[in-house]
Amino acid sequence: MALNVTGVDRETRESIREFLYLESLALDERRFRDWLEAFADDAHYEIPVRVTREKLSEWELSPTSRIFDDTKETLDVRVKRLETDFAWSEQPPSRTRHFITNIIVQPTEKADEYLALSSCLVYRSRGEEITPSLFSAQRRDLLRRDGDSWLIVHRWAALDQAVVNAHNMSIFI
């Protein structure tokens, strides 16, 4: 990709950035119902499995293996689960902080849809453990205009670690 700045107007760009910050704040404040509202009904949420490969290999992110492969319906199941008293993996809950940076907004073929690339670092602390889990990822979000706000149509996130240094993934990226 050449280093060309694409023709997305400042207002759209700022609006999308603000939306991504608000969305990550909802996650960090464990307002999972609010967070779910950020997704379109036809949304797809996926995190492929990364594999350590030689430089010239065809792929490094598995075309078939995924850590998350969710629709809005299955994300809703995950949230419903968190709302029960039996989601032991989040009892007590993880403390997370999503750092969303390097947001680049690009136009798509559809006038009301934009692609937002971002870097995402999630710090996750649990209980009295002094060693946090860190999830570093590149995100690609396809966003659809929804009145004054946006809806996530497709979230794709690629973790930078092939072997994840966390005993589970009970949080969202």
Binding site: V49, V51, V77, K80, V163, A166, H167
Partner: protein, 438 residues
């Protein structure tokens, strides 16, 4: 410390455990202890048959994956003749690692240090400055990569570091009967859906192997949300129904949970059920057709789970199958490898549906998986505490339960499937390895 490096305290604990297991007692200390870890590495993983890979991970000539037996890195590769080889991932010359990626395809491996070149079968064929440096005197046949003994069963590739180990067939000791529910899902058998998830956890591998050798007892509590959301095709009241079977003195065990009234082979497409009626024996059909949950472990560290599951609570589910490897990397610490197996002859739609069920339940972000590891890390932490050094855990469930006389499959079967019977066999087998004379 004795000559073998094991303290008297640990030796005494293991000696006491011999009688203790029979009476239903297992010391907590075995789940998080440096000496126990060292013994496992030197006496268990150095002699047992350990799972390395599934054949469908290396379908083409030259395909390889890098796997482990304890701390030994091993290249599992299909050579140019289609034969499967396993070699230590180490150049014979100065010990450099040959493959630094976890999978790939190569006809040859070339060391990045001094450039020794091996065929993918492990044979040394290229030595730089062979004439000038070695005066052509190096016997290349002697200095190939170091071979690991392997054998296969229904697509599973196992390796052992012990040239004297019994055959894989003997090692499995009849457990093949039960493995077929995972490996013969239809006429073409099973294949991996893709590369495994893997992650690191502060958990002792044995807790996981035990859980998967038939711990139906934890399900209604650890995975209570599943019942709560209406997900689970069994209820708390009927959950204990079914069979638990183990192979005495081999350590392998399986739990076979039933749900009354569930149609035979529930959750498989009709054409696969048809195929299984041909690929399985009458005895296997009798056992498996009734089975809702099949959760089993091949000693020491390979496990499987088959279960019908729907993405949306209340809908009829599809069967997914997870295969998992519990790889010990330190006391109370492991690396987890988890695959989804799908029936090779199933439609792409079914394979995709089964894979989606797997990711939502038992993949790395799976809702059931999350809770298991949360519990297992806490168990491990507790087991490492000094006040827990001399504490035993009770393994008395089903101690007096009679062996079923007319069970159609091999091994020692009891009913219902909620029991510690399999685990007592697992721990006594584990103990046999750890207390063996060198």
């Amino acid at each position: 410390m004795t000559a073998t490096g094991t303290s008297e305290g640990v030796q005494r604990m293991l000696a006491d455990m011999r009688e203790g297991v029979l009476q239903g007692r297992v010391p907590a200390r075995i789940f998080n202890d440096q000496e126990i870890f060292d013994l496992e590495r030197d006496k268990l993983f150095s002699t047992a048959w350990c799972f390395l890979a599934h054949e469908s991970e290396i379908p083409k000539n030259g395909d390889y994956v890098v796997r482990y037996i304890a701390n030994n890195s091993i290249i599992v590769v299909r050579d140019e003749h289609g034969n499967i080889n396993a070699n230590l991932n180490m150049c014979r010359h100065r010990g450099n690692m040959m493959c630094k990626s976890e999978m790939g395809n190569a006809s040859h491996f070339r060391c990045s240090y001094h450039g020794w070149v091996y065929k993918n079968s492990g044979e040394l064929i290229g030595v730089p400055y062979f004439k000038e440096g070695y005066e052509g005197q190096l016997d290349k046949k002697q200095w190939g990569m170091i071979k690991i003994r392997i054998d296969t069963y229904a697509g599973l590739i196992f390796g052992t570091l012990d040239p004297q180990a019994p055959s894989l067939d003997e090692y499995l000791g009849g457990f093949q009967f039960y493995l077929d529910i995972y490996l013969r899902q239809g006429a073409g058998g099973s294949e991996v859906h893709g590369p495994p998830d893997h992650w690191v956890a502060e958990t002792d591998w044995k807790i996981c192997a035990e859980n998967f050798s038939g711990d139906g007892y934890h399900t209604p509590v650890a995975h209570q949300f599943g019942f709560h959301l209406g997900y689970f095709p069994s209820s708390g009241a009927t959950h204990s129904e079914g069979w638990a079977v183990h192979i005495p003195d081999k350590g392998h065990g399986i739990g076979l949970g039933h749900t009354p009234g569930m149609p035979p082979f529930f959750g498989y497409p009709d054409e696969l059920v048809e195929q299984m009626r041909g690929s399985l024996s009458a005895e296997q059909i009798e056992v498996f057709s009734k089975t809702r949950t099949a959760v089993g472990s091949v000693f020491p560290n390979l496990s499987f789970l088959i279960q019908p599951f729907s993405l949306v609570p209340g809908e009829p589910g599809v069967r997914f199958c997870t295969m998992r490897l519990w790889h010990p990397i330190g006391p109370g610490r492991m690396e987890m490898w988890s695959w989804c197996l799908v029936p090779k002859d199933a439609s792409d739609e079914y394979k995709e549906a089964a894979y989606k069920a797997y990711t939502l339940t038992f993949g790395q972000a799976g809702t059931f998986e999350q809770d298991d590891f949360e519990n297992w890390t806490r168990v491990t932490k507790a087991a490492g505490a000094t006040a827990v050094r001399d504490v035993d855990f009770p393994y008395v469930m089903g101690l007096e339960r009679p062996r079923l006389a007319d069970f159609p499959g091999p091994g020692y079967a009891v009913s219902p499937y909620v029991t510690d019977t399999n685990f007592r066999n697992l721990w006594s087998t584990w103990l046999d390895y750890l207390t063996r004379e060198a």
